[in-house]
């Protein structure tokens, strides 16, 4: 039976991984991911999780160990953050190309320099194009549930791709929240045993990761791209099955008070909650405000996003990373692209906010809203700006 416990979100994630009966966990410590892997090593040490915990000497090796173990047919998990993600990024790209269904938690944290241990999405955006399924969670319960679904999605033979679960460092990883735990029986009834589609086994030798000569590289990439695009239907199916079974639903694009909204804020990850409060206040002020929380980042949920933005006149994108020297943050650049057909009917304003744990207050979310409203009135988007920067 499910039970509700008050627990640090990181530990909740570890417990979810334990319930998924991961075979191999390879990890290198980095703030703010540490509590996740500490607790996993403890679960292994206590015999509560029968897994190999590989305490590697770097994140690069963490992802490399994961590739080796996943390719051998073991359910494989790791977690990292920031510089760790950057260091392993070479292998992150290869894991998806080799179609290895690894699950990784990223406790999102800003990239150096300057060095910062605090939360934003500069690490996540640095590996935007790595070919993994990537989604963001907003609270402890979602973090717990997300991992159980992640293994099921990754290992589905219609998918066979690695899955990255993003949760905001500190803001989420270090919070103590009530989480409704699933029992082992419940998880077992949802998540089947891992059956690799292709594995290293002397009984059936296979050559994995051969040279992609020019005559074949394009075809390998096309197959990978199609796999990621097609994964969306399985993601939705798994999320629905989870919801039907346990009563908690995930949607690729979560919305709040969007139906009659004219202008909406757009957030990813833990900024969803303060943004909701801002929307509530705006509503009290008589504004037709709404909120879009983008959960599924890759594959990008194009149809669902278009639907959510159908009636909007303006969108205030809260970007938690920078794309230097161009037209704004990575999320806004993408959103403009997706909404290109609607460019005459939606004004998109981009706000770089909440870098390295910088607080974004409810008033500031409201400010983004009102600036976007003004832009809608003027019929012209503003240039992207940094929120709260002193100048």
């Amino acid at each position: 039976m499910s039970k509700r416990v008050g627990i640090e979100v990181s530990l909740g994630v570890s417990e979810a991984v334990k319930l998924c009966n991961a075979d191999v966990v390879a990890a290198y410590p980095i703030t703010p991911q540490t509590h996740i892997v500490e607790h996993l090593s403890e679960l292994v040490a206590n015999g509560e999780l029968d897994a190999e915990f590989v305490p590697v000497e770097s994140e690069h090796s963490a992802m490399s160990v994961c590739c080796g173990s996943s390719a051998t047919g073991a359910r494989t998990y790791t977690a990292t953050s920031s510089q760790g993600l950057a260091l392993m990024s070479e292998i992150v790209y290869i894991a998806s190309s080799m179609r290895l269904p690894i699950v990784m938690t990223v406790a999102d944290r800003s990239l150096s320099g300057p060095i910062s241990i605090w939360n934003d999405h500069t690490d996540a955006m640095s590996i935007r194009d790595c070919g993994w399924i990537q989604y963001f969670v907003e609270n402890g319960q979602e973090a717990f549930d997300a991992h159980i679904m992640a293994f099921k999605i990754a290992e589905d033979h219609r998918v066979i791709l690695p899955v990255m679960v993003h949760l905001d460092g500190f803001i989420l990883t270090h919070m103590i929240e009530p989480i409704e735990f699933l029992s082992q029986e419940e998880v077992n009834s949802f998540l089947p045993e891992f059956k690799p589609a292709l594995a290293l086994n002397p009984d059936k030798p296979v050559t994995m990761g051969p040279v992609g000569v020019p005559e074949i590289y394009t075809e390998v990439k096309k197959a990978q791209e199609v796999a990621l695009k097609n994964s969306k239907s399985v993601i939705l199916e798994v999320w629905k099955e989870f919801g039907d079974k346990f009563g908690r639903y995930f949607n690729p694009v979560e919305t709040y008070k969007i139906d009659d909204a004219e202008i909406a804020l757009l957030t990813m990850g833990s900024f969803g909650e303060p943004a909701m409060l801002a929307v509530d206040e705006l509503r009290k002020e008589g504004e037709k405000a709404g909120l879009i929380k983008l959960r599924l980042w890759r594959p990008f949920p194009i149809e669902e996003f278009l639907e959510a933005t159908n009636n909007l006149k303006g969108l205030a994108v809260v970007d938690r990373a920078i794309t230097y020297g161009t037209t704004g943050g990575p999320v806004a650049i993408e959103i403009r692209n997706v909404l290109y057909e609607k460019k005459d009917s939606i004004i998109i304003n981009d706000f770089i906010a909440g870098l390295a744990g910088r607080d974004v207050r409810i008033n500031q979310f409201k400010q983004m809203y009102y600036e976007t409203k003004e832009a809608v009135k003027n019929g012209k988007a503003n240039e992207y700006k940094f929120i709260g920067v002193r100048e």
Partner: protein, 100 residues
């Protein structure tokens, strides 16, 4: 996928194994390296003392030991490096220039 691949330029992305893996072992046997050779080793078995140096030292694995204990060169793959001739204990392997 079915090996051998007759023409790599005819493989569609749908044909590929997961991650572009090669699921048949040892498909390099379909790639014959014998035409790299400009000199061919020839064994004079009358003087062969079956030291097997040619077999052991062949970087291609293109030399086999026959049932009668003599060695044999697979010219489909022998690149003609000449190690077998140079290392042969009985000096019974000669490198002969290939005719063009």
């Amino acid at each position: 996928m079915k090996w051998p691949i007759k023409n790599i330029n005819e493989i569609k992305w749908q044909d590929l194994e997961l991650g572009g893996a090669i699921t048949e072992p040892g498909t390099s046997k379909y790639y014959k390296t014998g035409d790299w050779r400009s000199f061919r080793p020839e064994i004079d078995r009358s003087g062969c003392i079956k030291c097997y140096f040619c077999y052991v030292f062949c970087p291609e694995g293109a030399i086999t030991i026959r049932e009668d204990g003599f060695t044999e060169i697979n010219y489909d793959y022998c690149k003609g490096c000449g190690i077998c001739a140079k290392e042969c204990k009985g000096k019974v392997i000669k490198m002969v220039e290939e005719e063009v």
